[in-house]
Subunit: 324 residues, 2 copies
Amino acid sequence: MGSNADCAIAIDLGGTRIKAGIVDRDARVVARHTIPTEAERGPDHVMQRIIAEARDLADEARRRSLNPMGVAVGAPGALSQSRGVILAPPNLPGWNNVPVAALVRERCGLPTILENDANAAALGEFWTGAGRGVDNLVLLTLGTGIGGGVVLGGRILRGFFETAGEVGHTIVIPDGRPCGCGQKGCLEAYASANSIVRIVSEQISAGTATVCAETLTAENGLTAEHVAEAAQAGDSVAMQAWDQACRLLAVSCVNVQHVLNPQVIVLGGGMSAAGAQLLEPVRRHFSELTWPKINDRPDIRLAALADDAGVVGAAMLVFSGEAT
Amino acid sequence: MGSNADCAIAIDLGGTRIKAGIVDRDARVVARHTIPTEAERGPDHVMQRIIAEARDLADEARRRSLNPMGVAVGAPGALSQSRGVILAPPNLPGWNNVPVAALVRERCGLPTILENDANAAALGEFWTGAGRGVDNLVLLTLGTGIGGGVVLGGRILRGFFETAGEVGHTIVIPDGRPCGCGQKGCLEAYASANSIVRIVSEQISAGTATVCAETLTAENGLTAEHVAEAAQAGDSVAMQAWDQACRLLAVSCVNVQHVLNPQVIVLGGGMSAAGAQLLEPVRRHFSELTWPKINDRPDIRLAALADDAGVVGAAMLVFSGEAT
């Protein structure tokens, strides 16, 4: 009795994993698959995997009496959202101008949209995560690199060149550390998980005593989690690297505050698993760095959706009619 | 025959001068008055002057068979646009929660809107100045301080706390020079006219040889124009201060590029009178600082409307129906 409920097929394409899900209109992920990207086998192979996932999930949705309204693919930049094309992302080697949206649309027979993964995650947090009930927010995804997404009045700020929201590549130390993007002194060069590890490793190479030295030479190497643990345990090299990351994150939060003036800034991505160890120093530095008098301070929060943000946000693009 | 053409009454309230004008729908300033603010006599006195100007210009408009649709007042922040209240601007001493829009509305009998002066100027440049024909722009007004305004899709970005666009108070050197706003290392602390003068003056105090030393002790004191002239003439202290300002302006342009991704960044305010001496080094530093590969570079331009930007932009708010 009655017609089938709507759902969206959402795909989050990462350098190592493809996460895919069926999302209903209440932002519930009613089914999810995670498969390895196998990026080393090149774009044709990965596109086959994406299309197979999308078709499988659309079939699964129909078996569950759900009506798939479209497919949304979140992917790392650089990409052109309006043309649905992945240009040349650093962690997807060999991808050059791949028309993702057109390929998925054609092979799945469903309206499709391609979006930057951090933008999709920002929309997910806005819709049903840390930003539920607010009008606008900025999300920073703190992982291997630092991604960013801006939601204003419920819509992603894409920018004239479709590369807005890249807070990770704002310059926090002019002529500072080199960043993978080719600039110097980017936030990402100090506060991403990779950069924190690199900074501690440099200290180890320079002979500074730190408990991280043992982990570095162990089988799986040093990670930002190890640095966080060592900082918690009072290791001074780890504490310094972690605190520098938090302070420069706070500088970027001040700059976002003054330019965009959002209600909420959300810290997400792998590093946000550190919880209070991340949030508290960022908030403390922020209070110390910002305007003492005018009360226009965004609430800085941890992300709420963890791994689901990208899938949920991508689904919202389908429900809001942006897939074509 | 036919009805009267519409016009707007626009007032630009500055710390030293009140500029007022009648603006027609083609963005022409068909009449203009400039009077001293007499800010030292306090807010009641200044409000009387603003109201008298607005009423005079409305009468003048009617005599010219124009129909004044409303009044727009551009004023320095901090202010609440939505409530029409000037909160506490640093260069209007004694102003605390002055309900400017309500007072003007009541005494002039016309719909009235209050807006941040840099926002109004950004809208002016967007409408008919350096940003004509573009979809979005960011304006930096380089004067005593550094103001900023952001126009996205033809609308001012006001922000959740109504203090968006304050690019002058983004931090470019963490823990750097103190800024009048209470923060450290703001763009304004290096690249405003006042800061450039202060930086050169410190060098003079420290005994560094510079031609600026003579001007500093002369009757009217040292100005940013003098520093620009001395830099042009090859004075190394002046060159260093000027170049540092241009480089940090370029850092802010990179940061605006990555966060907002506008089509155009406009440099306005008194310092933009330096023309190519400002624009060329900012562009050169920007090219050196930004992403080498992705072509999402905003066009950095000089403002086109000079002193009229605020009045013209304020008028646009009236024509777009924002005065109430």
